[in-house]
């Protein structure tokens, strides 16, 4: 079975995620889009694993899921903290850290 279609789907999902990160201003949505990008990568990894018939890619995919879980934990924690301080939930407004 050709791997092309899997990769096309993966690239599409990745681009959707990247586009979402760039255009959306709500940090929750940005996190979701990041998840999309990570999962696009997962899809590609698993597709390659199937193609080569060894499980390295699947292990990588599992690790990426762990990383994604960590990232979401930190990200959501930050968002909750921002929310509690009644700051705007908008990444364009949160720009004190600049040169």
């Amino acid at each position: 079975m050709a791997i092309d279609w899997y990769l096309v789907v993966s690239a599409l999902i990745f681009c959707i995620g990247a586009g979402g990160v760039l255009v959306r201003r709500n940090p929750l949505v940005i996190l979701l889009c990041l998840e999309l990008m990570l999962n696009a990568a997962n899809l590609a990894l698993i597709a390659f694993a199937r193609m080569h018939g060894n499980s390295d890619g699947q292990i990588f995919a599992l690790i990426v899921m762990v990383v994604a879980a960590c990232e979401v934990t930190v990200g959501l924690g930050l968002i909750v903290a921002i929310f509690r301080r009644r700051l705007p939930i908008d990444v364009d407004e949160l720009r004190e850290l600049q040169g």
Binding site: A18, V21, L22, V23, R25, I30, V91, D92, L94, R95, E96, L97, Q98, G99
Partner: protein
């Protein structure tokens, strides 16, 4: 104990004295510091005598002992060791330095009693003796340079000892700067010699010179020797690096006596004598030394004629006498020069001590204009002055007579253009007699001045308001100034003892080397100078006998002239001054050496420095180098800062773009 152990002890005692006095000044009190200082030098003298005895036990051709304590750096051609060379020359210098120093320390115990910086004084003085001993004992160029620089530092500390006096601190700085010029000369000269000899060690260098290390490098050797001479001239106050010595009289009188008459200023003579195997292979440098010594002895003598500050008269006299020594060692008469070095140490130290006594009686005043008629008030000081004066003017049988005549006989026997030096030497001897006795007649003869009259009634004059003798400034008598009390030799046993011993030395020291009778010093120093080409060069009997007669005649006639001008016909000196106005102006302005150095060296350098500060420093260093570097960093950081907008999505876009660029690169390079 072995000879070299004794020599190490000679070094150790003054150093220990300096450290104990320097660190323990609070605990020691007044008596302690003086006692420790004097005792340390006294013990050093005893050890020096022991070293002498030990050295005489060796066979004559085995009297150059080297002892090394540890190595600093021994790499390739550089063998920097802490080593000493004990041979007849260094033992001779060691004996003169420690012997005279002991007496001067003893003198200082009383003379400096009124000073609040008593312990500091003895710490410095001990340090000086230590440095001087390092200089004369050092067995390689490194030790020589270290000792050379140390005595310069000690001299600076002691000249500016009364540091509240602006004149004293200025004089100290001047002496230090001129001496550093000499140090640089010495170091550069060492480099020239090291380059071809391949060793820092003295004996190794001389062996290398013997073995022809400088064959074909005559220019290097001559340059090296001339640079060594720069060091010698600066330390020994020879023209044109002499102007610091008269100013150095700002220091306490015993300091002038020890450093600026008896020991430190003779270091140049020692240097040339020590380096004789090199100087004999560089005749141009040796001749330069002889000529400069000769010029100095004459010029200094003429200035001594017209100075009115008693210490400055003696200072110019010192310059003049060192001129004789330099002339002698330059011409090859090493023994004659070193013999004069010893006798000069005795009588010049004595003269300074006696001058210190008079200055005490004048409550700190030093001007000959105000002194007169001290003969009855201060018989002991007068006696010492007469002994010192007779020795200095070269009247038989005093020590200066024999040593000066030996120098002049040697120079005369060289023939050729040395005859000019010979004649100038005798002219200088005549001047010596005149200025010495002018000083004595003015201070001790004539109507007693107010201070002398008071002293005759048993009351030592006491200045109501102490003033600086150099510029008349009123001074407080707290630390950093001479105390309010003054001491005269008549009332202080230590001073009397020291002066008596020196007077004995000044009278009888010449007897060790009387022509046709004995040759103690020649025989003793023979092993050091055995390789000299002048070792067998003896002036003819006719010349020696002629010298003895003419020396006596010139000394006595100089005294007679001084007696006529300043005692028989008081006031005739003023008439002479008026008659010889241009000459007098030349002399009293010290031949304008200070002004010439100021014009030729100080001002051009100051102007150059100002120019460099205005252009090079400001434009190149400040604006280009420093300003340029900060400008680049500033611009770079401004550019980087502009990227840091704080927009999260902007960063994400950059990240993606970067990733896309990398991807693109791999895609293109893969296809």
């Amino acid at each position: 104990m072995s000879t070299t152990t004794w020599a190490w002890l000679v070094l150790a005692f003054p150093l220990a004295g300096a450290i104990v006095n320097g660190l323990g000044y609070k605990k020691l009190g007044r008596g302690g510091a003086g006692a420790i200082g004097t005792l340390a030098i006294g013990l050093a003298f005893v050890c020096a005598v022991a070293a002498l005895i030990g050295l005489q036990g060796h066979a004559p051709n085995d009297r150059a002992l080297v002892s090394s304590l540890w190595d600093y750096a021994v790499t390739g051609d550089v063998n920097a060791k802490l080593s000493i060379l004990v041979d007849p020359l260094s033992v001779y210098m060691m004996l003169v330095v420690t012997g005279v120093s002991t007496l001067i320390h003893l003198y200082s115990v009383s003379y400096m009693r009124g000073d609040r910086g008593y312990s500091r004084y003895f710490a410095y003085l001990n340090f000086f003796v230590f440095s001087m001993l390092v200089l004369v004992l050092g067995g390689n160029f490194l030790m020589l340079i270290v000792g050379w620089a140390f005595v310069g530092a000690a001299s600076y500390l002691l000249i500016s000892f009364w540091y509240r006096r602006g004149t004293a601190t200025k004089a100290g700085i001047k002496a230090f700067v001129i001496n550093v010029v000499g140090d640089v000369g010495l170091v550069l000269g060492t480099f020239f010699i090291l380059r071809h000899s391949g060793t820092l060690d003295f004996l190794g260098t001389f062996r290398a010179a013997e073995g022809g290390a400088f064959a074909g490098h005559q220019g290097s050797l001559t340059a090296g020797c001339l640079l060594l001479l720069v060091g010698a001239f600066a330390k020994s106050a020879q023209i044109p690096l002499h102007t610091w010595l008269p100013d150095a009289m700002e220091g306490p009188t015993p300091v002038s006596s020890l450093i600026h008459a008896a020991t430190m200023v003779t270091a140049g003579v020692y240097l040339i004598a020590r380096m004789h195997p090199l100087f004999e292979r560089a005749p141009a440098a040796a001749d330069t030394a002889a000529i400069v010594g000769c010029v100095t002895l004459l010029v200094a003598g003429t200035i001594g004629l017209v100075m009115t500050d008693i210490k400055r008269v003696i200072a110019y006299s010192t310059m003049s006498q060192i001129g004789y020594m330099i002339m002698a060692v330059g011409a090859g008469g090493y023994v004659a020069g070193l013999f004069h070095l010893m006798t000069h140490a005795f009588f010049k130290a004595l003269l300074f001590m006696a001058a210190g006594s008079i200055i005490g009686a004048m409550a700190g005043g030093q001007s000959l204009e105000r002194m007169s008629g001290f003969r009855r008030a201060m018989p002991f000081t007068f006696g010492c002055f007469v002994v010192g004066g007779l020795a200095l003017s070269g009247v038989p049988p005093f020590s200066g007579f024999f040593s000066k005549d030996e120098i002049l006989a040697f120079v005369g026997s060289r023939g050729g253009w040395f005859d000019v030096l010979y004649v100038v030497g005798y002219a200088g001897a005549f001047l010596t007699a005149v200025y010495t006795w002018r000083m004595i007649f003015r201070a001790f003869f004539g109507e007693p001045c107010a201070e002398a009259k008071e002293l005759e009634h048993g009351h030592l004059a006491h200045a109501e308001v102490p003033t600086n003798p150099a510029n008349g400034e009123v001074e407080d008598t707290d630390v950093g100034f001479p105390g309010p009390e003054h001491t005269i030799a008549e009332r202080a046993i230590p001073m009397k003892v020291a002066m008596t011993l020196l007077a004995i030395g000044a009278t009888f020291a010449g007897f060790v080397q009387i022509p046709h009778v004995d040759h103690v010093i020649t025989n003793f120093l023979q092993p050091t100078f055995a390789d000299s080409k002048w070792v067998d060069h003896e002036p003819s009997n006719t010349l020696v006998n002629f010298g003895l007669v003419i020396g006596t005649v010139i000394g006595l006639s100089g005294i007679a002239l001084a007696y006529r001008v300043w005692v028989l016909k008081p006031g005739s000196a003023a008439a002479w001054q008026a008659r010889l106005k241009p000459v007098y102006t030349l002399f009293v302005n010290k031949w304008w050496f200070d002004e010439a150095i100021d014009l030729l060296v100080v001002r051009p350098f100051a102007a150059f420095g100002n120019f460099a500060r205005g252009t090079f420093e400001r434009v190149f260093v400040d604006d280009t180098l420093v300003g340029g570097t900060t400008g680049i960093v500033r611009a770079g950081s401004a550019a980087v800062r502009a990227i840091q907008t704080g927009f999260l999505r902007y960063y994400a876009a950059l990240l993606l773009l970067g990733g896309a660029a990398v991807l693109l690169y791999f895609l293109i390079s893969a296809s």
